[in-house]
C-alpha cells in the first residue's frame, strides 16, 4: 500500500465556549491515499465539520488544537505560517461546500470568478486561464461553457451550481479535494448525476477525494474507505464493504439500521436511536456511545474503550467489537 497523501494523527480540537472547553474532536485519526475516495460519516455534532476545517486550515478563531497533527505529504500543516497555509489552500487542498450559492460571489460572472481562482498561477496568460476554465466547465458536464461563462450564479440551477463549484475546486488540480455534503441541497436526480460526475472524475484525477456527509447513500455509491464519527471520535473505520456489510461498532450498526433507504419492507414505524448526543463540554468518561447503546455494560460506562483491530483495514473503538 502506498504512503498516505494526507493523514490526521490523534487530533483533538476544542472550542472555547461560555460553558467551558467544548471537545469537538477527540483523538481522531484519518488516513487518505492518492486515488482513494474517503467518506467521513456522522450526524450533526459528531465533529466532521471541525475535522474538515482542520484539514483545509480554516478553523474558527475560538478553536484550540489540543494535540495531534494534520500531515500533508509528510509536513504538519497545522504548524505552518499563515502565508504557507494560504498557499496550500485552494492549490493543494480544495473544497466544495454544501451550498454552492453562497460559495460564489453574486456580482461577478462564473467566468470572471473561475479566472480569478487561478490568480496564483504564474506565467499563465489571462487568455490561457480563460481557456482552461472553459475546458474545466466542459469537463464537469456544463453544456455550452461559452454561454454559461458569462452568466451569474443565480441564473444557474442547483445542480449546475454544484458542477461549477467542483470545476472551481479542480482548476488548480489540487492533491486533496474535500466535499462537504456535496449533494444535500440537491434533488435525487441531480444527486445521482453529481455522484456519477465525481465517480467519473476519479479516472483522470490523481488525488484524493474526501466526502463529508451524513448521507449513507452517497457513501455507499461513491467511497472506497469510510470513517464513522460519533461525539468527536472516529468510532469505526473500514472499507466501504466492511462498513456496510460487516460493521462492528453498535453506533455504525444503529446508523445503518435507521436509514429508511436500507429498509426493504414497508415499515410504518421507523427505527431510531434512543437518547441524545452527550454533552461535549463534559464527555462521558467511558465510551461516548454507552448511554445510547443496547450492548453497554459497566465497563463501557467507566472506561474508555480501546480501538480494536477487526480485519485488515477495519477497526472499531468498542469493547464488544470482536464478539
Amino acid at each position: 500500500m502506498s504512503e498516505a497523501l494526507l493523514s490526521v494523527d490523534n487530533l483533538s480540537i476544542s472550542y472555547q465556549s461560555e460553558a467551558g472547553m467544548l471537545q469537538a474532536l477527540r483523538h481522531a485519526s484519518v488516513e487518505a491515499r492518492a486515488g482513494e475516495v474517503i467518506g467521513i460519516v456522522g450526524e450533526s455534532g459528531c465533529g466532521k465539520s471541525t475535522l474538515a476545517s482542520a484539514i483545509i486550515n480554516i478553523l474558527a478563531p475560538n478553536a484550540v488544537v489540543e494535540s495531534g497533527e494534520v500531515k500533508f505529504k509528510g509536513r504538519n500543516i497545522l504548524a505552518l505560517s499563515t502565508e504557507e497555509k494560504r498557499k496550500l489552500r485552494g492549490r493543494s487542498i480544495a473544497m466544495v461546500f454544501q451550498d454552492p450559492m453562497s460559495a460564489f460571489s453574486p456580482v461577478l460572472t462564473i467566468g470572471e470568478q473561475l479566472i480569478d481562482f487561478q490568480e496564483n498561477r504564474e506565467g499563465v496568460s489571462r487568455a490561457e486561464k480563460r481557456r482552461q476554465a472553459k475546458a474545466m466547465l466542459a469537463r464537469v458536464g456544463i453544456a455550452d461553457p461559452q454561454h454559461n461563462f458569462s452568466r451569474y450564479v443565480h441564473e444557474l440551477s442547483g445542480g449546475m451550481r454544484q458542477r461549477v463549484a467542483i470545476a472551481a475546486a479542480l482548476l488548480m488540480s489540487p492533491d486533496v479535494l474535500m466535499a462537504d455534503e456535496p449533494t444535500t441541497a440537491l434533488d435525487v436526480t441531480m444527486e445521482a448525476q453529481i455522484i456519477h460526475l465525481l465517480r467519473e472524475l476519479r479516472t483522470d484525477y490523481k488525488g484524493t477525494i474526501i466526502v463529508i456527509t451524513h448521507h449513507l447513500g452517497l457513501v455507499g455509491e461513491l467511497c472506497d474507505r469510510v470513517f464513522v464519527m460519533y461525539a468527536g471520535e472516529v468510532v469505526e473505520e473500514g472499507s466501504v464493504d466492511q462498513i456496510f456489510h460487516g460493521a462492528r461498532h453498535p453506533y455504525t450498526r444503529a446508523l445503518l439500521l435507521c436509514d429508511p433507504a436500507h429498509l426493504e419492507e414497508h415499515t410504518p414505524v421507523l427505527p431510531a436511536i434512543p437518547g441524545r448526543l452527550p454533552d461535549l463540554v463534559n464527555p462521558p468518561k467511558g465510551c461516548s456511545f454507552a448511554p445510547r447503546c443496547s450492548l453497554a455494560h459497566d465497563r463501557c460506562r467507566n472506561e474508555a474503550p480501546p480501538v480494536l483491530r477487526i480485519n485488515a483495514g477495519q477497526q472499531a473503538r468498542c469493547f464488544e467489537a470482536l464478539r
Binding site: 450526524e43 444527486e191 445521482a192 448521507h215 449513507l216 466501504v240 456489510h245 435507521c258 436500507h262 414505524v269
Partner: protein
C-alpha cells in the same frame, strides 16, 4: 375511505407583467401556467405523499389547496363542501394546518414557544384558561418537556424546533395537516422520530396528512398513497406500496432508480435520468417528460397524454404505460 379533500382538474396560472421595451408603453399581461389538470383526493385519516423535483410545483399545489393562492381553473372541495367563497376557506383554515419547510424560519424569533404554539387559538378567537397550561399540554403531546414552553426558538435543537411546529400545527385539532419537507435537514435518527410522531398522532387523532417531499426513502415507509408531480402535472398516483413495487410512469421509475443505495454492492453504472427539469417558461410540447424520457416516441412530443386509470386506484399520465410494465 371517504374523501376529506377533493381537487378536480385544478390549474394555477401566474399572472406576469412583461416589461419589454414595448411593455414600457403598452402594459402587456401574460400568464405562466404553473399547475394544470391536478385531480387528487385525500382520504380521511390517510397520509398522502406528494413527490417531485424542485420546480415541479409541489409547494404551489399546497398553497392552492389551502387557498393561499387561487385556483385559476378546476374545483376544490373540503368535506364535500365546495371551496368558493371566503367563508368556505375560513372553514377550511380552521380545520387545517401547514407545517412549513424551515422550522426555524417559521417560528418567530421574538416569541416564546408557549406563545408560538398557542397563537392559533388567538387567531381563531378560541378562549383558553391559561396560555401556559395549554402550551404545556400541546408540548406534551409531541413529547417535549414543559420547560420548553419558556424558551425562544434559537434555544431549540433542530429536532425540538420540528416538534414545536408539529405541536402548533395540531393545536386546533385539525382534520388535515400539510407538511412541506417535514424532515429536511435533520439527522436520520431524529428524522425517524419526527415521522414516527406524525404517524402516531395520525392514528390517534385521525388526521389526514399531505407530506410534500423529494425524499423517496421516507415516502415509501410513512405514506399510504403517493402522487408524483412533474412540471405542474401529476404523472402518477396510487397506493404507495404498489407504486414502489411496480411504477407505471417512466419518470416514477427513474426517480426510484435515482435514489442512492446505501449498499456498495448495488452501485449503479449510469444515472437513471439525465438532464434537468425544464422550467415552466420553456414547457415542452406534448408529454412534458419527453425531453428526458428514454422511451419517448413521436406521439409523445406531439400529444399531451391524459390521466388514465390502468388498474383500480392506479392513475398514470403516459401514452405508453401499459407497454412499459
Amino acid at each position: 375511505m371517504t374523501a376529506l379533500y377533493d381537487m378536480r382538474d385544478v390549474g394555477h396560472d401566474l399572472q406576469a407583467t412583461s416589461l419589454s421595451w414595448r411593455g414600457l408603453f403598452a402594459d402587456k399581461k401574460s400568464s405562466i401556467n404553473i399547475l394544470s389538470g391536478v385531480t387528487l383526493s385525500i382520504g380521511k385519516g390517510e397520509t398522502m405523499g406528494l413527490v417531485g423535483e424542485s420546480g415541479s410545483g409541489k409547494t404551489t399545489l399546497a398553497r392552492v389547496l389551502l387557498g393561499l393562492k387561487p385556483a385559476t381553473s378546476g374545483e376544490l372541495a373540503f368535506e364535500g363542501r365546495p371551496l368558493k367563497a371566503a367563508d368556505d376557506f375560513a372553514h377550511l383554515r380552521r380545520n387545517s394546518a401547514l407545517m412549513f419547510q424551515d422550522p426555524v424560519a417559521s417560528l418567530s424569533p421574538r416569541m416564546k414557544v408557549e406563545n408560538l404554539v398557542t397563537e392559533p387559538f388567538i387567531i381563531h378567537g378560541i378562549k383558553m384558561q391559561s396560555r401556559n397550561a395549554r402550551a404545556v399540554e400541546l408540548l406534551e403531546r409531541v413529547g417535549l418537556p414543559a420547560n420548553i414552553a419558556l424558551r425562544y426558538p434559537h434555544e431549540l435543537s433542530g429536532g425540538q424546533a420540528r416538534r414545536v411546529c408539529v405541536a402548533r400545527a395540531l393545536a386546533l385539532n385539525p382534520k388535515l395537516v400539510i407538511a412541506d419537507e417535514p424532515t429536511a435537514g435533520l439527522d436520520v435518527s431524529v428524522q425517524n422520530e419526527i415521522l414516527n410522531l406524525m404517524t402516531e398522532l395520525k392514528n390517534r387523532l385521525e388526521i389526514s396528512f399531505l407530506i410534500i417531499t423529494h425524499n423517496l426513502a421516507t415516502v415509501r415507509h410513512v405514506t399510504d398513497r403517493v402522487a408524483i408531480m412533474y412540471l405542474g402535472r401529476l404523472v402518477e398516483q396510487g397506493p404507495t406500496r404498489e407504486v414502489f413495487a411496480k411504477p407505471l410512469h417512466p419518470y416514477t421509475k427513474s426517480l426510484i432508480a435515482s435514489e442512492p443505495q446505501p449498499d456498495p454492492r448495488k452501485r449503479r453504472k449510469d444515472p437513471a435520468i439525465k438532464g434537468e427539469i425544464p422550467g415552466v417558461l420553456a414547457r415542452p410540447s406534448g408529454c412534458e417528460f419527453h425531453t428526458r424520457c428514454a422511451h419517448a416516441q413521436p406521439r409523445c412530443t406531439a400529444v399531451t397524454p391524459e390521466s388514465r386509470t390502468l388498474a383500480p386506484d392506479r392513475i398514470v399520465r403516459c401514452h405508453l404505460a401499459e407497454h412499459l410494465i
